[in-house]
């Protein structure tokens, strides 16, 4: 078999692993973005305990390896005395939990940076126009925060695609798992090339989506008003 025939023959197996990759990706994005924003709000809260919790959360989740967190959720949580029995998760749900918690910490920091970039004049303009705090946040602050946050969020999202390969560590069959199986079985590294191609397709599509989003939100401009 030449390269292409062989690559074609292993493709179905690898694509069957893509389901787990895509599934994890979709679940984590949908859950971690709002969770991250919640953590941002807590970090900005006037209530001390919320601020403290958000800071500790970001410190721990950003300061330790995702692989460690994944292993901890899957192997470690069930061993916690008393409550451990209620924390036994299947492999895939365990991965969803660990990834979501981890990515929320990163998104929280990105959103916090986005909020910091907003001029205090925006809040003042809202106040003198009689907008409530809630209206100010939803109509004026969040749209501007998202616009500033979009490029770093896009970056994290692409990292997430690649991080899904960590599923390998808790033996959830995904793209990399099937590639490794083929390589070991056939003594050919072609399957790794095919796996790389599949990841590249995913990240390429994501890049296009975020480019379109950035273009959409760029209307007007992303330059802050001159001081």
């Amino acid at each position: 078999m030449n390269f292409f025939e062989y690559a074609w023959s292993v493709l179905p197996a690898l694509l069957s692993g893509a389901g787990a990759t895509l599934g994890l990706f979709a679940i984590v994005i949908v859950l971690s973005l709002p969770l991250g924003f919640l953590v941002t709000l807590m970090a900005k809260s006037s209530i001390f305990i919320f601020r403290w919790f958000a800071k500790a959360y970001i410190f721990v989740l950003r300061g330790t390896p995702l692989l460690l967190q994944l292993l901890f959720v899957y192997f470690g949580l069930p061993r916690i005395p008393v409550i451990g029995d209620y924390l036994i998760l299947d492999r895939f749900p365990a991965a969803c939990v660990a990834f979501t918690l981890n990515y929320a910490a990163y998104f929280a920091e990105i959103f916090r940076g986005g909020l910091l970039s907003i001029d205090k004049g925006q809040y003042e303009a809202c106040q003198v126009l009689g907008l409530s705090k809630f209206q100010t946040t939803v109509k004026v602050i969040i749209p501007q925060m998202l616009r500033v946050s979009l490029p770093p969020v896009s970056n994290e999202t692409i990292t997430l695609v690649k991080d899904t390969s960590l599923l390998y560590a808790i033996a959830v069959p995904e793209i990399l798992h099937y590639a490794k199986v083929a390589v070991t079985r056939d003594f050919r590294i072609t399957a790794f090339v095919v796996a790389a191609a599949i990841y590249l397709v995913f990240t390429f599509v994501l890049t296009l989506i975020f480019k379109a989003l950035e273009k959409k939100y760029k209307r007007g401009s992303d330059i802050k008003e001159k001081k």
Binding site: Q122, A125, Q144, E225, K227
Partner: protein
Amino acid sequence: MLIDVKNINKYFGKLHVLKDVSMTVDKSDVIAIIGSSGSGKSTLLRSMIHLETVDSGSICIDSSYLVKDGVYAPKNEIGAITSKMGMVFQNFNLFPHMSVIKNLELAPMLQKKMSKEEIRAKAESLLDRVGLLSKTDAYPDNLSGGQKQRVAIARALMMDPEIMLFDEPTSALDPELTNEVLITIKELAADNMTMVIVTHEMGFAKDVAKNIMFMDNGEFIEKGTSSEIFNNPKHERTKAFINSIIK
């Protein structure tokens, strides 16, 4: 009397920025507050619309106390009191993610009991009034500074304020763009809008303001009509300031 400020004091840390300041604004008054940077004039203006809080004294807006002897009105009443005023900032503070017309419509859409069509018609007529009807769908960053400031004025007028506060409305503009903004403000004066203007534009202050108040180091040094202040200043510091500005 629309605004009555009585003996207000304000500190930033140890710095005493407003020293027992009092002033009144009557209906259709156009008052210019002049003075060097750091004299407290912006802080005074911002205190009137609750962007700064004072440490003592009283501010009464259209016979409702925003703050009385250092005690502020309950939070839920402050909005109603300050809604009598509109404010225009030095840096425009337009919403950059919204088109010009959306900038005007946002606040009325959220709180006025007017139909969408009425709000749109009102926004268009105000844009027409400031000469920017052609910029309805433009975004703020595609406008010149003078155009932005005129949009900001129209946005403030959407809320039907009885009083307009201007905080150095032309200070962020290139000199050749200040005129269009000053013309817009003059037109408001001609329509009997009550206005308090903090400004560095002496020619404009002289021209449009009935009364001029000179502030220095946190207090009013001199108050008078524009001819009194400009042609016959009594106080040495006023003289020095006027001379340094008009060369």
